[in-house]
Amino acid sequence: MKLTVKDAPHIRSEDSVRSIMIDVLIALVPAVAGAALFFGWYALFLCLFGAFVAEMIEWFIVKFLRKQKDFVPDFSAAVTGVLLAMNLPPTAPWWLLLIGILIAIGVAKQAFGGIGQNIFNPALVGRVFLLISFPTLMTRWINPILSFSKSPWDVLTSATPLGVLKQQGLTQALSNFSYANLFFGNIGGCVGETSVLLLIIGFVYLFYKRRVNPIIPLTYIGTVFLLSALFYFINADKFGTPLFHILSGGLFLGALFMATDMVTSPMTLKGQAVFGLGCGLVTMIIRYFAGYPEGVSLAILLMNALTPLIDRAFKPKIFGEVKP
């Protein structure tokens, strides 16, 4: 009889990278279904196309450029693909998504060494690259069409809630977008960012499966809420209400699914709290004072860059450690 000799521990948990990524994909299903409901068949197509193309590109790079023999898809690329699709306007042409995924998987992920090695969230790198390179295509927003068969480019363009707030003030923004519509998602915006409710449902699933710690979303959204409450008292019409700020501009998509990306966020609870706080702060600075009406993507990318420093500064306390 041949016995195997290995190092302890001899038993392992059932978890794998793949099972985590599959859970993330499941958690994104409600928001993707919502996208199909609000923006029609093309939104659904973008998400599926994104997942498929991302996996194909990753397979190609790993197999032929990095020449690894054993490529087993772990679906992390699919997550990136879906998230990038969810971050595009519903009118974005399919080739725009393709370029975005090439940048996300090829440059932001594989060029850094593949899964686990990337500094920046790949989907966000893809989105920001597209935002800078194709500003018109990336800001062609439409109102929800509420018809699966209708195509998005037949519809007149409109503005997003934060865009209206920035250009026309709070009164106009609130008359265009009710809080209920902001919460349920019946507003203009990116494919997967509009429905706060559906995003929360997905996140609750992830939390229930113990895949994620809610500390980053809580501190992130909390910071945005507190800061916008402060500015609300300074000038309500210019800066908007706290509720308006947390319900719009893809904050929930960013806070629940992008900022919580394991690879690019800190390792300790304290560090994660600081990370969420920083994301909130930068988001609001961009929203209030910078050229873009929305700042979630850039804020998370900036905090991604600070993650190694945060990890260094906030370490867990070693059991029995005596401070000299």
Binding site: V5, D7, A8, D15, I20, M262, I318
Partner: protein, 437 residues
Amino acid sequence: MRLLTFKGGIHPPEKKELAKEEKLHYLDPPETVYVFLSNHAGAPAKCVVKENDQVKTGQVIGEPGGFISAYVHSPITGFVKKIDKLYHPIQGRPMEAVVIQKTSHDEWQYLEHSDWEDLTKEKLLEIIKKAGIVGLGGAMFPTHVKLSPPPEKKIDTFIVNAAECEPYLSVDHRLMLERSQDLILGIKIVMKILQVQRAYIGIESNKIDAYEQLKSVLNSDDIELKLLRTKYPQGAEKQLIYAINGRKVPVGGLPMDVGTVVQNVQTVIAIKEAVVDRKPLIQRGITISGEGVNKPINVVARIGTTVEELLKYAQGMKEDADRVILGGPMTGIAINRLDIPVMKGTSGITVLLKEKEYIQKACIRCTKCVSACPVGLQPYLLYLLANKRKYDDAVDEGLLSCIECGSCAYVCPSKIEHVRAIKLAKKVYQALRGGKK
């Protein structure tokens, strides 16, 4: 009742149900035993018998080879067949062992001393030393050394480690059920040696029947039962102390630094057997379990019985058994041959079936290892530093505090071998430092 515990830890499948209902079998002495002279932590014992010498059960065959060392006794009655070098599973290389062939039933050579109530603390320690008792939880540290802390360390608490947190193992559980009186008596002896007024028995909540049993025989207010949350590694010494009396053993320190001494259930029972029954340590309880054996069982076997022999009592291994482990699956040592004898620290033999092939992937920084670590380390970082051979940096990050419990590797979704890397890094670091800490 509020269950006591520590921070971190994991919940692996307990698998205790395989063997926990099996009563202890007191096995007949085997035909041949193979007794390592290094049957304890520290210096190997010096052999005091020659080939063809007649030996009785309980006769000394090895004397301590240093301050941290222990007596070794013959587990059976017979003659010394040869003194040979055998593969030592802990040291990982051939070590000297005495091979004894059985000639008759047990003829005991007992320890000689008067009734324990009349004996002084020093004399009791001498008996424990003479009986060759070492930490039977697995560490095999000589018990008489652990029970005689330097006088400047004031000891006020004695804790019996009855957590038995390793999956599959249930021999301590059985001993508590079947030999509760012996355990209590042993505790009283240790309390006399340590001159402490307070003793605790820390039991995990999955052994509630043992808790009830001990409660029913407990006739002293000085010994208190403490129910612990069932969580791995609840039985790790420092984590156990923290759960029971909230004291944190400092980094690099010992339990005596916080006035506490911990002993395993079996060690305490062995102390009772030595002091009251005058029997040296020649046998111990072992759980033989796992999906790979036909009939899981708890036995009391002679030290030096081979794994092969013991597996017969579990009606052998299944066809597709893949891994034989000395100890439990979290910290045990996998062996690839069955002629290895059990030692004083072997608490179990766990046989596992072929598992799913795991491919190690890159770390995805999921933070599971950080929240699982009971010591508050960052296993992912230690793994990274160890692989980059940055040993000094790893030590700064707490490398030497790692208790090698395996929680990080257990939870890791990328199946990273943190523990292997950390063990190696510790060895290399200490070698580079010339053995000095």
